[in-house]
Amino acid sequence: MIQINQLSKKYKNAERFSVHNLDLVIDEGEVFGILGPNGAGKTTLISMLSSLLKPTSGSFTIDGLSYQGHMSRLKQLIGIVPQEYALYPTLTAFENLKYFGSMYGLKGMELTQKINEHLEILGLKPFAHKKIQTFSGGMKRRINLIAGILHKPKVLFLDEPTVGVDVQSKNAIMSFLKELNENGTTILYTSHHLNEAEEFCSRIAIIDLGTIICKGKPEELIRNEPEAKNLEEVFLARTGKALRDYA
């Protein structure tokens, strides 16, 4: 589904590559986790895959298409749930979803029906006509997620979809994502919640300084790392315990 070949990105005036010669193949129907410390290149990778950044070199295809010449078609195939809420605070949940759904060409009854369905599933139907600025962090995260999947994308990019939410919201979001994946959506997911990733992802790649340092099924990664009992211990063993502060 996603084929990445020697993909690199170096920002203007940066001393090093944020993503460097990255090769990766993600199969259809997978939930692929990209894990790494701060500044590892996770968000840069997702930004390139979602057309927000142009690669410095290398290439990738999604469902056999590249952005060159297929920008609109490719954008229709993918859904993005960014780390920020990326919603209009003074608009209601329904108005936000209606607007972002319209940008994918959805309209009329079909759009209204889809919005209502998703609001219902994620427990937000009673708040459909309340302004986003009155919502809690967890509620905003759920609306943020719906805005990215209304058009039923084949591939979904999730950039830390559960950051800063309560346990109940996190549970609702993860259940919904699993269902989405079971219905055929390929998911590329980044998170700092390693337990969540271990449970949710079919395969994982740990990246650091822009390159993949290991990849495989979560249980394989744990098994292959001596003395590691869980993914967090694999992560620390592979990326070290030094703080990663970048300015």
């Binding site: 209009y88 608009l91 607007y99 994918y104 060409g105």
Partner: protein, 422 residues
């Protein structure tokens, strides 16, 4: 089209949800145009109707100073406040308590009478074939009326006062000459041997095809187009702030990943903010037509001009929106967009001739003025309001305004594309 309408609907909702911002957007321009017109109209009235208190230090206490006093009172521009001490008068003006002090020198009346008498006698002697004292060699030294102006007064006010006093002094001198001749030629002071009324008069006539005094522009006809345009261009502030906010919220990033062009996103903003500009314009016209007469200000005359006025406002609004879209695309924070936008609009207004007419600017600034969209808009508005031109005569200015919109929006789209390559 569906995406464009959805974008416009979203912009409309965002705008209407910010009720305070919306009120400011519509009320502030109205307040601006009412304030400016009242001040400007009041300035004319100050010179014509209301009285400016001025200090008069009369060291002469003769017929000439009396005449100056009478003339000034008759002009109804000034309220004479007598002051004995020149030094004290100078201090009061310096402190800003008075805008002007006039100091009439000692023995002005006797010196003027002597000088005029000397000249008249000299002329009459020449007529009678006698030699007379050459006026050039007269020992009568020139007298000087001193004017002390408050340093804070505007140059235009000073010039206007100086011109008025100069006119008055000339009139007194002329009358003195007539009077001296009269005294020499007849013993009856009531006999009128000269017609002392001004021979040359002037009247202001509109230069149009059908001269009509009512067509002479008043402060409203000047202020409504100028300040309406100023207000329309101020739309770049809320528009650019709206765009910067979207960047901060992350919604712009989301939109860039959506299958919608940046042009469509900007199109939605253009529709709504252009509508705002046109509503602003309509409100300005309503104020000029209905509120100004109630406030005692000259009424705005729009009869038969409305379609043309809205035609110009539409393209002026487009130019303003284009500039706002460009600023909103380039600015990274409200701290960048707000001060830059506000200052830039003021610069464009100054260059456009909103404060000082373009013809009165230095040559270099006149050349710069030609590239100010506000100059094109103002010129088009004046063409409709004051010159009654047709649509064909407006086309050059309209084309420039439209081109400006296309170029600014084009640069915004190009800049946005370049951002992806960072």
């Amino acid at each position: 089209m569906h995406k464009l309408l959805a974008s416009a609907t979203k912009e409309f909702l965002l705008l209407t949800r910010d009720f305070g911002g919306l009120a400011i957007l519509f009320l502030m321009p109205l307040l601006l145009v009412i304030t400016i017109t009242t001040i400007q109209d009041g300035t004319f009235k100050t010179l014509k109707e209301s009285k400016i208190p001025i200090l008069l230090v009369d060291n002469d206490k003769g017929s000439v100073s009396e005449q100056i006093r009478e003339n000034m009172a008759a002009a109804q521009q000034f309220e004479i406040v007598p002051q004995e001490n020149e030094r004290k008068a100078q201090q009061l003006v310096q402190n800003g308590d008075y805008q002007l002090a006039i100091v009439i020198p000692k023995k002005l009346s006797s010196a003027l009478n002597h000088k005029v008498q000397e000249n008249v006698e000299g002329i009459l002697s020449k007529f009678n074939g006698n030699d007379a004292e050459d006026p050039q060699t007269s020992t009568n030294s020139k007298k000087e009326v001193k004017l002390y102006f408050d340093p804070a007064t505007q140059l235009s006010f000073r010039n206007s006062i100086k011109s008025g006093i100069n006119q008055m002094v000339s009139k007194i001198e002329t009358e003195s000459i007539y009077k001296a001749f009269q005294e020499e030629l007849t013993d009856d002071p009531t006999e009128e041997i000269f017609d002392t009324q001004p021979f040359i008069t002037f009247s202001e006539i509109a230069p149009g095809d059908v001269p009509d005094k009512s067509a002479i522009p008043n402060s409203t006809q000047h202020n409504i187009p100028a300040w309406t345009l100023f207000a329309i261009f101020f739309i770049i502030l809320p528009l650019s702030i709206n765009m910067v906010k979207e960047k901060n919220l992350g919604t712009f990033v989301r939109l860039r990943t959506n299958p919608v062009s940046y042009g469509t996103v900007l199109g939605g903003k253009t529709i709504v903010f252009l509508a705002v500009a046109l509503i602003q314009f309509a409100l300005m016209l309503l104020v000029g037509v209905f509120l100004f007469p109630i406030l005692g200000l000259p009424e705005l005359t729009v009869a038969g001009k409305l379609p043309m006025l809205f035609f110009v406002a539409f393209f002026a609004g487009l130019a303003a929106v284009g500039l706002g879209l460009l600023l909103g695309t380039i600015a990274k924070s409200q701290e960048q967009s707000a001060p830059f936008g506000a200052t830039f609009v003021v610069i464009l207004a100054a260059l456009g001739g909103v404060w000082v007419p373009v013809f009165a600017m230095p040559k270099f600034m006149q050349a710069l003025s030609n590239i100010s969209p506000m100059n094109w808009g103002l010129s088009a508005f004046y063409d409709v309001f004051l010159r009654n031109v047709g649509i064909l005569e407006l086309l050059p200015e309209i084309a420039l305004l439209f081109l400006f919109f296309l170029i600014t929006t084009g640069i915004a789209i190009f800049y946005n594309e370049r951002q992806i390559a960072v």
